[in-house]
């Protein structure tokens, strides 16, 4: 089966200038396990477009680096 790479507008965005190296709080808290630490930047990012826009990732981030937007289809 052919494999394609599609761009997607993902709901959770991270301000890398605020994201702390070594902190994984948002990654640990996401119920859908949609966040991960990027191996190159060491910053959190959304690795799959799976989101309940529930918000612990943003609410618990110590520096306010995480923003939860509505998934595009709901906006």
């Amino acid at each position: 089966m052919a494999s394609v790479h599609q761009r997607a507008d993902v709901p959770v965005t991270i301000d890398e200038s605020l994201c702390i190296d070594g902190c994984t709080l948002c990654v640990e808290m996401c119920p859908l396990d949609s966040l991960s630490i990027h191996p190159e930047t060491n910053k959190a990012y959304m690795h799959v477009d799976e989101c309940w826009y529930c918000g612990p990732c943003a609410a618990r981030c110590p520096t306010g680096a995480v923003t939860v937007n509505m998934p595009y289809l709901l906006r």
Partner: protein, 990 residues
């Protein structure tokens, strides 16, 4: 990744395996541990933020609080709401054990709404029964539960594994002996041997596809894919009422609850496109959802939650709850479309279908201990078929299942070898997609499957559509077998699609088998529109038979514990009735397991800064001393994070440490500490109050307001502190001062504040004077259960800020203009002051201190002062103040001058004032009041008419009042006509 070999499974053993760390699961684990069992808790997310309470809950839907509601009434109510098909023995457990559970949760630190006197502020949201207990700080429920799980004595017995997902319960000789699972991050294969298994995996939320098309934009937490339904089914357990789907009226597209339960006490309500209330059902049920669906589709649609008529402060308070609890991104959603509650009512729609025992009745069949039909296997929470059980019922049944499972453990031998064939089959289910790296991915397969659910299974249902659904679901077994995945995360989603397919098939077959319509929209068969009690006043249970086929049996409804006459006479006699299977089908093919894989390794990270260092300690429950350096760190972010770590663990000395932060130079830690102290108020030492008093002098208004709130809640503030604060520059502080004085029944200190320059403070004063009078009952009317139709109805204060009972904490915390008032409550949902009377004054030496609630004599002696203040407030320039003052007269003996003033107010141009006047007239004599209420009953505004009906209800036994009520029994407003009919059906003797 490469699949591990089945023989390389990581084996774990315990007495009680709990699957799911949400509401029921955490309680099951806590109770089982307290009973001495060793517990393994597997959670596919992280227990701290998982399940239906991931972001908290804004209230209890079904609290039967002594003195406010009766367990028997509740059981009858649920029996009616579920059209008679209820095993009352299960519902009775929730009715009788719910209150003890509320108290247990409170001991843990969960906050429930209380009035100024510290009494549970139960609301009447439905027209019958007062069961709704708001949780204004409900966002912290999971935090509190997680804290309990990490208490040292619990941690010794409960092992938590986050990110583990079981896929099958293992059975030996028909008994549950464990589970097969995998680590969704490493991909490791895991087997568990257990003496008992408690399934607490929640609803099947990913069954129907939301109208948005977004797979995870579901009403339920989308991690809840029906795991437990599939696991119970494959273990041989019976499931019941699967055809009684969960469907909810939700915010359109956002697909979260609009929270009519929350908005209702504030004066919000559901209307059609013409602005009319239209719901005739008295209780949340499929019938109610059917009414919403019909209205939405009609020329009168769509349907809205109406809030734009409310004043600014009420809306601010409402936002303070709706935008922080349960689904806190509601605000983001509305803002994204440029909508605002001030200008836009909230468009609603009917959600996708799901399975959920806790909201409707679709669940695993359990007895009154949560035991399923498979020995050693339990189900609790939304997964279990205990109709309308909601959050509190999930706690109750988690507790019961945990206790029963732990109690059985000493008599059951620990399993040794686990059933090899079942382990292999589970392994195959998990790792099969790795063999098809090019197979269709989960998002596409799941989308298609769930679109078929929408097309062919969602109501209104027909036999022909359901048969087509089954063809698709059978065909899609091949799609599932071909599905591809490459990572542990994708394996998790792929296994979930198999759960969803199983649930879809159960939903379609059960709907096809029940050949009638029942439960409103939940099981509306347009080809069989009638309810058929003779054939179908039965539970319809399904199970996997010896051949692996889905089989059905009709189980007679057990004799009722509480009589419900309309169904009781028709309950079938005799035993279970087997049902012929609709269609036969081949068993699922099984393939051999793939070779094992090497585990992935994660890279090392750099040394963490202070916040990371602090967070790393959080799991180990650091002491206050250990946190000290972080609480005094030069970086305010670190100090704020330290406050948050403190509230996660609450070591001894937390209260004092937080109080110290109230003087922090930076507002962030300071405000975090205020919020933390309020959050923890139920578990703080009342002695702390004395030390807090100095903070009423804080330069920060948020700290001052928060301190007053704490002093009131801890009953640690002498009246003088509150009286002094009435002169504060900030109205948020003055409103807290008013609440404090109300809690002490200090009419004398309160009355002068009637001249306050802030409208919100004056409203609070007016309401407070009403609350004090209702509490001490000058007329001798008991505070509890005063009126037959419930003057206590939650509708009470929709006149304005008047109602913002849940607002206080929210408003001061967030700096919103204070709507900080008590629930308007003329006849008094607030119960007698007995509880507060027993509180020990923290400072008996202080004059005018809070002591036991003042005597009736004190109140009566102060009544002239109160009346003088209210008479001034009812001619206030602001209509909302006039409204609140007029309504407060309901609690006072009124003179002719007052009745005349109320009569004049019925011509006010503001409907809120007319409404307040109509409510206040209940305190006048019926001879004077009824002619005026007749006018109000003909008002153009529905809320004025409703107020008139509610005030007339206690006089429904008088011919003149009954005559007025009869004029509105066909009112266009559903609330007006329902209350009028109820009052006429239940005349109160003169």
């Amino acid at each position: 990744m490469i699949a591990p070999d089945p023989s390389d499974a990581h084996r774990l053993d315990c007495d009680v395996l709990v699957v799911g760390g949400g509401t029921a699961g955490t309680m099951a684990a806590l109770t089982a541990a307290e009973k001495g069992a060793s517990v393994l808790l597997l959670e596919k997310a992280h227990v701290r933020h998982s399940g239906a309470l991931a972001m908290g809950m804004d209230g209890v839907n079904n609290a039967v609080v002594p003195g406010k509601a009766d367990p028997e009434d509740y059981v009858a109510e649920i029996t009616r709401a579920n059209d008679g098909v209820v095993d009352q023995r299960t519902v009775h457990q929730t009715a009788t054990r719910g209150f003890a559970m509320v108290q247990r949760l409170e001991r843990y630190g969960v906050k429930f709404e209380k009035d100024e006197y510290g009494e549970y502020d139960v609301r009447r949201v439905h027209r019958s029964g007062s069961y709704v207990l708001p949780m204004p700080e409900g966002k912290d429920v999971k935090k509190v539960l997680y804290r309990q799980l990490r208490r040292r004595e619990v941690r010794e017995r409960v092992r938590i594994e986050n990110r583990f997902m079981p896929v099958r319960v293992l059975t030996e000789g028909g008994r549950a002996v464990g589970a097969a699972a995998f680590d969704t991050r490493s991909g490791d294969f895991v087997t568990v041997g257990a003496k008992a298994v408690v399934l607490a995996t929640g609803a099947c939320g990913r069954l129907g596809l939301p109208a948005s098309g977004y797979l995870y934009g579901t009403y339920e937490n989308p991690t809840n894919a029906g795991d437990g339904y599939a696991m119970a089914y494959h273990a041989g357990a019976e499931l019941s009422g699967i055809e009684c789907f969960q469907i909810n009226p939700l915010i359109k597209d956002y697909n979260g609850p609009a929270c009519a339960y929350v908005a209702n006490p504030f004066g919000g309500y559901q209307v059609n496109g013409r602005g009319e209330r239209f719901v005739d059902s008295d209780y949340w049920s499929g019938q109610m959802i059917a009414e919403v669906a019909r209205e939405t589709a009609s020329e009168r649609g769509p349907v809205y939650l109406k809030v734009s008529h409310l004043p600014e402060e009420t809306i601010g308070a409402l936002e303070g709850i709706l935008h922080t609890t349960e689904r806190p991104t509601r605000g983001t959603f509305h803002a994204g479309r440029g909508h605002d509650y001030r200008t836009h009512d909230v468009e609603m729609h009917v959600s996708e279908i799901g399975l959920c025992g806790g909201h409707s009745a679709s669940g695993v069949w359990v007895d009154d201990n949560g035991a399923t039909s498979v020995p050693g296997l339990y189900a609790a929470g939304d997964l279990a078929c205990v109709p309308h059980n909601y959050m509190l019922g999930a706690f109750v049944f988690g507790d019961l299942a945990g206790a029963h499972a732990a109690g059985s453990a000493p008599h059951v031998p620990a399993p040794e070898a686990l059933p090899e064939e079942q382990v292999r089959a589970a392994h195959e289910l998990i790792y099969r997609p790795l063999r098809n790296p090019d197979g269709p991915p989960q998002p596409q397969v799941e989308y298609k499957l769930r679109r078929f659910v929408n097309d062919y299974v969602a109501p209104p249902k027909t036999g022909s559509r359901l048969r087509i659904a089954l063809e698709h679901f059978e065909r899609m077994r091949d799609d599932l077998a071909a599905m591809g995945a490459g990572t542990p995360h994708e394996l998790m989603r792929a296994a979930e699609v198999s759960f969803i397919r199983d649930c879809a098939e159960m939903a379609a077959r059960a709907s096809l088998t029940r050949t009638e319509s029942r439960w409103g929209l939940y099981h509306e068969r347009t080809d069989l529109p009638e309810r058929d009690d003779e054939q179908w006043l039965y539970h319809l249970n399904l199970y996997r038979d010896g051949d692996g086929e889905m089989a059905f049996v009709k189980r007679p409804v057990a004799p009722y514990l509480v009589p419900v006459p309309e169904f009781e006479a028709r309950l079938p006699a005799g035993g279970p009735v087997p049902v012929e299977p609709d269609e036969a089908r081949a068993p699922v093919p099984r393939e051999p397991a793939p070779p094992p894989a090497a585990p992935d390794e994660r890279p090392e990270r750099e040394a963490p800064p202070r916040v990371v260092e602090l967070l790393a300690q959080a799991e180990d429950l650091p002491s206050v001393a250990e946190l000290g350096p972080y609480l005094h760190d030069p970086d305010p972010t670190v100090r704020t994070t330290a406050v948050s770590v403190l509230t996660e663990s609450v070591p001894p000395g937390t209260g004092e440490a937080l109080a110290e932060v109230l003087t922090d130079a930076d507002p962030r830690p300071r405000r975090a500490a205020v919020a933390a102290l309020r959050e923890l108020v139920e578990v703080l030492d009342p002695e702390l109050g004395r030390g807090l008093r100095a903070h009423v002098e804080s330069p920060d208004a948020v700290v001052r307001a928060g301190t007053l709130d704490l002093l009131r809640a801890l009953r640690a503030g002498p009246a003088e502190v509150f009286t002094e604060a009435l002169h504060d520059a900030d109205p948020r502080v003055r409103i807290e001062a008013v609440r404090g004085l109300v809690s002490l029944d200090r009419t004398d200190h309160l009355a002068p504040a009637a001249g306050d320059r802030s409208r919100e403070v004056r409203v609070a004063v007016a309401e407070g004077l009403g609350t004090i009078a209702a509490g001490t009952a000058t007329t001798g009317t008991p505070r509890v259960g005063a009126g037959p139709v419930g003057l206590t109805t939650a509708d009470g204060g929709s006149a304005g800020p008047a109602t913002a009972g849940t607002a206080p904490k929210a408003s001061a915390d967030r700096g919103a203009p204070g709507t900080d008032t008590t629930g308007f409550d003329p006849a008094g949902t607030a119960a007698s002051g007995a509880a507060s009377a027993s509180t020990t004054p923290a400072d008996p030496g202080a004059t005018g201190h809070a002591a036991p609630r003042s005597s009736r004599a004190t109140h009566v002696s102060q009544a002239p002062q109160a009346l003088r203040a209210l008479r001034a407030l009812r001619v206030d320039p602001d209509p909302l103040v006039r409204a609140a003052a007029l309504a407060a007269f309901a609690s006072y003996d009124q003179g002719p001058e007052d009745v005349r003033a109320a009569g004049e107010a019925l011509s006010d141009s503001a409907w809120q004032v007319r409404k307040g006047a109509a409510r206040g007239l209940v305190g006048a004599s019926p001879e004077e009041a009824v002619p005026l209420l007749e006018r109000a009953a003909g008002d153009v505004h529905q809320d004025v008419r409703k107020a008139a009906v509610l005030s007339l209800a206690p006089w429904s036994g008088r011919p003149e009042a009954a005559a007025v009520l009869r004029t509105v029994v066909d009112d266009p407003d559903a609330d007006v006509r329902a209350h009028a009919r109820h009052a006429l059906d239940h005349p109160v003797p003169v």
